[in-house]
Symmetry: C2
Subunit: 274 residues, 2 copies
Amino acid sequence: MVEDAGTEVAVGRDGGQAIRRAVALLREVSASKAKGLGAKLSGLAEATGLTQPTAHRLLAVLLKEGLLERDSASRAYRLGPLLYEFGLAAAPRVDVRRMCGPTLDRIAAEAGDTAYLNSRSGTDALCLDRREGSFEIRALPVEVGNRRPLGVGAGALAVLASLPPGEADLVVAANEGRYRRHGLIADKVRTAIEATRARGFAVTTGRIVARYRGVAVAVGNGVGGVPVALSVIAIAERLDVRRIEAVAALLRREEAALRAAISGSLTTHKGRAA
Amino acid sequence: MVEDAGTEVAVGRDGGQAIRRAVALLREVSASKAKGLGAKLSGLAEATGLTQPTAHRLLAVLLKEGLLERDSASRAYRLGPLLYEFGLAAAPRVDVRRMCGPTLDRIAAEAGDTAYLNSRSGTDALCLDRREGSFEIRALPVEVGNRRPLGVGAGALAVLASLPPGEADLVVAANEGRYRRHGLIADKVRTAIEATRARGFAVTTGRIVARYRGVAVAVGNGVGGVPVALSVIAIAERLDVRRIEAVAALLRREEAALRAAISGSLTTHKGRAA
DNA sequence: CAGGAACTTCCGCAATGTGGAAGTTGATGT
DNA sequence: ACATCAACTTCCACATTGCGGAAGTTCCTG
């Protein structure tokens, strides 16, 4: 293990190597679900900085334990039944999803396109929820539970840009190597963050396939301490310059309402210290 | 590591010690949620057969990774935010929960007491879903996601008794040490399995607190290959001998209907090979 | 405030996990 | 159909990671 630092998680080097690596693999499998191509051994090894034999052995254990399953045809790994089961038992710290449900409903209804709720999870953005609009052609590139590096996609970019600058820089640096797989590089992300901050909302065009376009607004200081963003994704033609502004206005309006609703029920759940 | 074999998982001794132990701890934390008392270090160490320092170190890593959280007041561990998030992304093999939803609705409505859906997960029973009835006093000892050794509780007993005898014996043997914490021993469980098989349904009285009583019926050959049981739990007074029979009849009726519905939509999802 | 239990830290030893290299399987192109 | 290549899997000698007994600390409980 002479490797350069930086490939790995880089902080907290004491103990738990195997477990940390295993969790990194799980996160990567979870992230790979977003991009169409499944989570193959080689890709996972590369993304986590592990050698192929090591990744293989760890994955085999995770498989046997039921944390992962493997598609026999494509050989791709995916999250397993035990994780689903744990998910049933694990209550979220703050139920961001429920708190934002009505907001999402209204956004999807009014915009007619798909509304998304994204939150921060470490250096990832996580799709917490979504609502489909009434328009015939639905843009559904991301599914609930999907995970990708902060900065990739409208919602994820809005979340990233809403973090304190120092924090955002750290995240971008940590994700440096992962952006390439999404057709991005760190510098482009940094530029996009600036633009998002200046504009007040995020706009993106699907990188791999330029078929979709997204508009996103971060929620004030987050929901119960968790940074989140509201976004709308549609096929590119449906989001021309004019409509982008309209959707952004809608998102901003809903963001303000949501923030008000949250501070109203502030005393309900007190945040837990880390 | 001179320890006696049998304390650990006992099969598949090759590789992945750290990860296997970590998963065992997660399962135990998940199981401890059921019994009122939280998952303390000492209990987890004992239940998993680890020494306290080892358990402590592993738990610390799981904590740092976000798979667990810790209640600062009680020092008890509980499943963390990352597991909730993975749960969103992990689709269940077969959506047992949705397939049985209407059945549960009807049982709860007709019985007036709480209806439960339990499935097998390894050597555990897992509460997949529940519906509250209309009766004023609700028996809600178990929550969705809760996990306890197969054999503990009506639903868990019905599931266990529905397994092939050899398989059930293995499970009971594997759970040997865990029954004590629920006021049971392996031999009592074996007797209860026999009684359940003879009777055609399971009846239990809460062991730790004899306040509740439960009636359960296993679903034919399981749902999509997963062994499951339907059950009704109520305060003991509400389930006297006469009503037990009535509830059992209701459960059996619903079980038959469910089985019919399943075999009707058989071709929909083909089971995935292990 | 003393006694005890639960939790946390320490550290030398060795079992577990590591990754280069070789072997196997399966996909792709001619 | 066959050759070529890439992706996956297995093997094994080595040392890093993880282990747990013992000692220290904190937090209850009487």
